[in-house]
Amino acid sequence: MTIGSVALMLGIFGVPMVLLWAGHRLRRRSARWHAAFWGGIAGHLVALVVGSVAAMAPAEQWAPSDVWRGALGLWSFLVLPAMGAAIGVVRAGRFGRD
């Protein structure tokens, strides 16, 4: 199993698990937590679209030289939710909430 495959597995299974855990009793959490959660959800939704399209188009086997396809199809599921959560935390901090 390559590092890209591990990233894909973590992205498509690990990230939703973390988001489910983070969304449990969300109303009791801080504003910063809220922002990170919704940022993560937004990132995950964008990754679902971007990653799925990268996996299917063009309809041919990936080559090791397909850098962009590998980045979008394998890593986006892990990186985009993390980016979304980070942006959420930064925005929550900037607007003085919590």
Partner: protein, 193 residues
């Protein structure tokens, strides 16, 4: 209203409550965790259903140019196909499979490359009728999970099982409260009578 007048709403038995709780969490967790896998499986399934219309699989209309008995040898047809895709001299390792269609009078030679290039060759004359990629081959592998390796088929199995559990738990969550309410109403009516 005194304490003794209080109306006691009957609650479902503990095992049923536990079953509903399990159904709820199974529905939620499996639905969310398998979203990406089911999304890709659904999208590739739709694309495969319309592979001809979407141009993922070439549809070569052709009539036999000679009786099947006069067809060229498989070796000659393979060589012609591989020359057409610039893979000469021919080696058997370059060919994934050959699909002979006697009623249409051609053979489809699929080359082992990333695009699954397919060459359609006239059986009798050896004329190359079409050269193009077979997008559906890759999409089939992505649909089954095989695109990432042989063992990844288990991922699509897991997604299918998750889908079935999500459906069953969804029905349980939808219908169980209705059945319970109807049973409670019937019980109340019988007690009142």
């Amino acid at each position: 209203m005194t304490v003794t007048d209080r109306v006691i709403v009957p609650r479902p038995a503990a095992p049923r409550r536990r079953a509903s709780r399990i159904a709820f969490y199974a529905h939620l967790w499996l639905g969310v965790i398998f979203t990406a896998a089911l999304l890709v499986i659904s999208a590739t399934g739709i694309l495969l259903n319309h592979k001809r219309g979407l141009g993922l699989m070439p549809d070569v209309a052709h009539e036999p140019s000679a009786p099947f008995a006069g067809a060229l040898s498989l070796d000659s047809l393979t060589s012609i196909a591989l020359v057409a895709v610039g893979r000469a001299p021919a080696t058997l390792g370059d060919v994934d499979r050959m699909d002979v269609r006697p009623r249409s009078g051609y053979v489809k030679v699929r080359v082992r490359d990333a695009r699954s290039t397919e060459v359609t060759v006239d059986l009798a004359t050896g004329r190359v009728l079409h050269v193009g990629p077979r997008g559906d081959v890759y999409l089939e592998k992505l649909h089954s999970g095989e695109a990432f390796g042989d063992r990844w088929v288990l991922l699509s199995d897991a997604a299918a099982i998750a889908l079935v559990i999500t459906i069953v738990s969804g029905y349980w969550l939808w219908l169980f409260p209705k059945v319970r309410r109807a049973r409670d109403t019937t019980g109340d009516a019988e007690r009142t009578a």
